[in-house]
């Protein structure tokens, strides 16, 4: 069967499930939303209402084992972007882009889809066709093939062919070829050549590009000389893990050389290579990919607003909003290398002309295509990405706001809590209910909360969501909703707050924010939810994150040297 029991372990998530149906625990407890991952069972669990599950522990890892034990291996298939990065690395840039099976992103991350989804027959066909087309494009181009191969084969299977296959194979499989593999591809290059050594190479390359050793990351480990109870990843596997984490693509030759010399089994060697990778432009792109998934920015692509209703919402607005978040992330990671949690509280941001207009601020030098750094007004309503266009817009409806969506985002994305879906038989329509005398979105929601079936969850989701009521469906500031004064008071777990700036302040000191970043990164890095036995390593990682003042690059370095990233257990039923 599928591996979802493992994915289903809630890990260091705080599971709200039970609390949702508990009228009291959510509001009255200091740690209202927490219940251990184990007792809550799975992420999918809808509140079972078992009172023993709720609110008891003061730590999300309360039930975790004392000693870390590695999880079983997974078999990620390269995502479409990883495949393309690998092709560019192997064959050079400028080759045609070919259709591939779309990736899925369960639990927000494409890397999790990569370890859990089965490929379809069409997907395999597309691999076959892509391999054929790419190899043909390279080997029918004389300049290109000579640049790639580096020598001119005089006869099928000669020394030039064999040397090339060895080096190409090492790059493609991210480890040296075995003798049998070398012989196999040399054979192919000979037998399918039909007298033309180039043609033979073309087919050998097309074959390598279809091999599961290329298309999947095979990371099964080897005996750990320091600990006979577990396996460690091989040096080659560590090189792959490093580069896919930091570059979203395959290792370069330098990294493979480091693997071959054993450097990646030492902490110093790992850190040195990780630091080198982080300096490369590929790392910036890869980290943006992570944050785009963690912050769910792809949803912005599907946002539409009626220009008649929202004149400010230009066709470029969602792209501007997305760029703003990217620049902010990049600034916090690379330029200032400072506390990444400031994402949710900083008054610093980057705006172009239309964002400056949306926020009603001065931004000297900003144009439609030029973003300039600005500090949002000290006494203004905005601080942190939860007050910026991207979050506010993608979590609102076309004409009205959605405190529920905004509150849910805070719970799920920022605090790593899990909100169960509404019961199947519940009407979630907030439309024009004639029986209601509610005028504002807030009043309508409060009416719905009178239903005890809804109130369980909505009393947790909506109060932080109300804090954003001063921002309309496109993120503009407002004082009236439907002609009535906005009430942006709310609370976070019983602590009363007024407005999104209050929330930003509260999040500055909320320990769940940093813990959540650790968790999200771990899911992305491993392609799965953490197993219970890994919690001690996650706790240790979190402690190091705190000691490092929550600097994200340091978190990456701490992650790659963490035993959770370097060790693995036996595949049980191999």
């Amino acid at each position: 069967m599928v591996r979802f029991p493992r994915l289903g372990i809630a890990g260091a998530l705080l599971v709200l499930a039970s609390a949702c149906y508990d009228d009291n625990s959510a509001r009255d407890s200091d740690q209202p939303a927490s219940s251990s991952g184990e007792s809550a069972g799975t992420d999918a669990t809808v509140g079972s209402g078992d009172p023993t599950d709720t609110g008891g522990s003061d730590s999300d890892s309360g039930d975790s084992p004392e000693a870390f034990e590695p999880a079983e291996p997974v078999l990620p298939r390269l995502t479409a972007s990883q495949y393309r990065n690998a092709i560019a690395h192997l064959l050079g840039p400028g080759l045609p882009g070919l259709p591939l099976e779309p990736d899925t992103n369960p639990y927000l991350f494409y890397n999790i889809g990569a370890t859990s989804t089965f490929i379809s027959e069409l997907g395999v066909q597309q691999y076959e066709e892509a391999a054929d087309a790419l190899a043909r494009a390279v080997f029918t181009d004389q300049a290109r093939r000579e640049a790639l191969v580096g020598c001119v084969p005089l006869s099928p299977g000669d020394g030039c062919v064999q040397n090339f296959l060895a080096s190409f194979g090492r790059r493609a499989y991210r480890r040296p070829l075995t003798g049998a593999e070398q012989a196999r591809w040399t054979d192919v290059a000979t037998q399918l050549a039909e007298g033309d050594a180039w043609r033979g190479l073309q087919f050998a390359v097309a074959g390598v590009l279809q091999s599961p050793h290329f298309l999947y990351r095979v990371e099964l480990g080897e005996p750990d000389p320091n600990d006979p109870t577990r396996l460690r990843f091989t040096g080659w596997e560590m090189a792959t893990r490093l580069s896919f984490l930091l570059w979203n693509g395959p290792p370069d030759d330098v990294l493979l050389d480091a693997a071959g010399s054993g450097d990646l089994h030492t902490e110093a060697g790992l850190v040195a290579e990780a630091e080198r990778l982080l300096e490369d432009p590929r790392a910036r792109v890869a980290l943006q990919e992570f944050f785009a998934q963690y912050l769910d920015l792809a949803r912005l692509d599907h946002v539409a607003r009626d220009p008649a209703r929202w004149p400010m919402f230009s066709p470029t607005m969602t792209a501007s909003m997305r760029t703003e978040v990217q620049l902010l992330v990049d600034d916090l990671i690379h330029r200032s290398d400072s506390d990444i949690r400031q994402l949710f509280s900083t008054r610093h941001t980057f705006v172009n002309a239309e964002l400056a207009a949306l926020y009603d601020i001065e931004a000297e030098g900003a144009s439609p295509i030029t973003f300039v750094p600005v500090d949002l007004p000290v006494d203004g309503p905005r601080a942190g990405i939860l007050t910026l266009g991207a979050f506010l817009t993608m979590n609102a409806h076309e004409t009205i706001t959605s405190p529920t969506n905004r509150g849910k985002y805070v719970r799920e994305r920022v605090l790593c809590q899990v909100i169960p879906p509404p019961p199947g038989d519940v009407d979630t329509d907030l439309g024009d209910d004639e029986d209601m005398d509610a005028q504002t979105v807030r009043e309508k929601l409060e009416q719905h909360q009178k239903d005890p079936v809804c109130a369980g969850c909505h009393s947790i989701i909506d109060p932080p969501g109300f804090l954003f009521e001063h921002f309309d469906s496109v993120g503009g500031y407002r004082t009236l909703d439907n002609g009535y004064p906005v009430d942006a008071s709310g609370n976070l777990d019983g602590i009363p707050l007024d407005g999104a700036r209050d929330l930003a302040e509260a999040l500055k000191t909320d320990p769940r924010v940093g813990r959540c970043i650790v968790n999200q990164l771990y899911r992305h890095a491993t392609g799965r939810l953490p197993a219970l036995s890994e919690f001690p390593a996650l706790d240790a990682l979190e402690q190091r994150f705190i000691k490092a003042d929550h600097r994200f690059k340091q978190l990456l370095l701490d992650l790659v040297v963490s035993e959770a990233f370097r060790t693995v257990s036996e595949e049980t039923d191999a």
Binding site: S116, R184, A206, P212, Y216, G424, E571, T572
Partner: protein, 460 residues
């Protein structure tokens, strides 16, 4: 479409080997029943049946049969259920576009799978109705997995079950075991599995082909260099050998995922091997359109040609995906369909559903017009199951699920019959289809959905 002539699939590798060896090509031909399919059908009209799945999103316009709330906000009432029963029924307004093809319908049916507690979304119409209509089973026990939002089935959807069933293709599968096509590219959200209706198993969505050009190329483009094609076939043997060492080192799901990949690769290899076996007369290269009826017209023309010349015998046709957000602005509907349903805009949902039925009719037009030399049309040979995910999308009711059975299945299905059983088991549809296709089916349905009965009156 009478220009389409069935050509038996011939292994090109076999042909080329034969040619190289100087042997007569005819000796290497596939079994007689594949070569003389038309003659075989003349003897037994139900041989070589075709199965198709036509899927449209968001059910039908709600009415009192779906529930009291729905009845209270149903200005036009029930415009789906035909007013008369049995043979030669009087079509309802929404079934009128399909009347020319004498489709049969079953009304009143609903999913019978148990809803565990906590139900994890198991009772939600989108998920429960969809899964039972497609698989006869519920969604996986964890439910509508949240926040992963993956919608995962427990077993293959009906089209994939049939395409993989040994009693359907036996040892001579078509070049394509199945084709999964789509028209609207709108999706409810980006979480992955929602934009597919066909699954070969858990976590195994089969993405639909939405592009007429891509479909055309798959079906009808024969590479000029057949020798290169032969090398590609041989190359896959090497890839298989390369994967061999890996298999024994994996366990659990990883092993299954790799096995599935390699099974698919074998299928791809087999198809490459047959890829000169396209239709004798190839349709013109297609255009494209963003309009769902116009694109259906284009895709259905290619599909009918492929079915008629034996490139496949199973298809799924996803007009719109579950909970579609498609904006039918050509009908004056300003918002996505899912929203329009929940907003209770009955008239809009009626016009959208009617439009979706027009598309269904265009598909059937093409299947009826594709005729073999003996005068038998694809639609005569086919059983096309028209289905949606629930009864209606306003409140997600799974009562009164819409079911259309089009085509004659070579005489195994009665055409133009209205079967009604209020509260009847939806899996009777599956039993009917499977039996009509000659697949032994003592019972079908799972987790409470089991039934041994077919739709009496519709199964001949």
């Amino acid at each position: 479409m009478t220009f389409l002539i069935r050509k038996p699939p011939i292994s090109r590798r076999t042909v080329l080997r034969g040619a190289v060896g100087g042997a007569a090509v005819a000796l290497a031909l596939p079994p007689l029943e594949a070569m003389f399919a038309e003659e075989a059908r003349a003897a037994d009209p139900s041989s070589d049946p075709i199965f198709g799945l036509f899927y449209w999103a968001n059910g039908v316009p709600w009415h009192a049969g779906h529930g009291a709330d729905q009845g209270a906000n149903s200005p036009g009432g029930d415009v789906w259920t035909p007013p008369t029963l049995g043979a030669d029924f009087t079509p309802s307004p929404l079934l009128t576009p399909l009347a020319a093809h004498k489709v049969s319908v079953a009304t009143g049916l609903e999913p019978k799978t148990e809803v565990p507690q906590p139900d994890n979304g198991q009772s939600d119409g989108h998920m429960r109705g969809f899964m039972v209509a497609m698989t006869g089973d519920r969604i996986r026990p964890e439910g509508f997995d949240h926040p992963s939002h993956t919608l995962t089935c427990l077993r293959p959807t009906l089209d994939q079950y049939i395409a993989g069933h040994e009693q359907f293709y036996g040892n001579t599968p078509s070049r394509f075991r199945s084709l999964c096509l789509g028209v609207s590219e709108a999706r409810f959200h980006d979480y992955g599995h929602w934009n597919a209706i066909s699954f070969t198993g858990p976590d195994s969505p089969v993405g639909a082909i939405h592009s007429p050009a891509q479909l055309y190329s798959m079906l009808f483009d024969v590479p000029a260099d057949l020798m290169a094609l032969t090398r590609r076939v041989t190359l896959i043997d090497a890839v298989m050998a390369d994967a061999e060492g890996l298999r024994g080192r994996l366990g659990g799901t990883d092993k299954q995922r790799l096995e599935a990949h390699l099974d698919h690769l074998r299928e791809v290899q087999r198809r490459l091997d047959l890829s000169s076996g396209t239709c004798d007369i190839i349709p013109a290269a297609p255009g494209d359109s963003a309009d769902v009826v116009a694109r259906t017209d284009i895709m259905a023309g290619l599909l009918a040609a492929a079915l008629n010349c034996g490139l496949t015998r199973v298809f799924s046709f996803m007009l719109s995906s579950p909970a579609t957000t498609h904006v039918f602005n050509n009908l004056g509907v300003p918002n996505g369909m899912h929203q329009v349903c929940h907003d209770g805009q009955w008239e809009h949902v009626r016009s959208i559903t009617e439009y979706q039925m027009l598309a269904f009719a265009r598909l059937l037009d093409h299947l009826a017009a594709a005729v073999d030399p003996m005068g038998v049309s694809v639609l005569d040979r086919a059983c096309v199951y028209g289905a949606s995910e629930y009864g209606e999308g306003y409140k997600h009711s799974t009562a009164e699920m819409p079911v259309v059975l089009a085509g004659g299945a070579g005489g195994k299905l009665v055409r133009g019959y209205h079967y009604r059983e209020q509260g009847g088991n939806l899996c009777k549809v599956h039993v009917t289809i499977l039996r009509a296709l000659g697949i032994d089916t003592p019972s079908y349905g799972f987790n409470g959905g089991e039934t041994t009965e077919h739709l009496t009156g519709i199964l001949a």
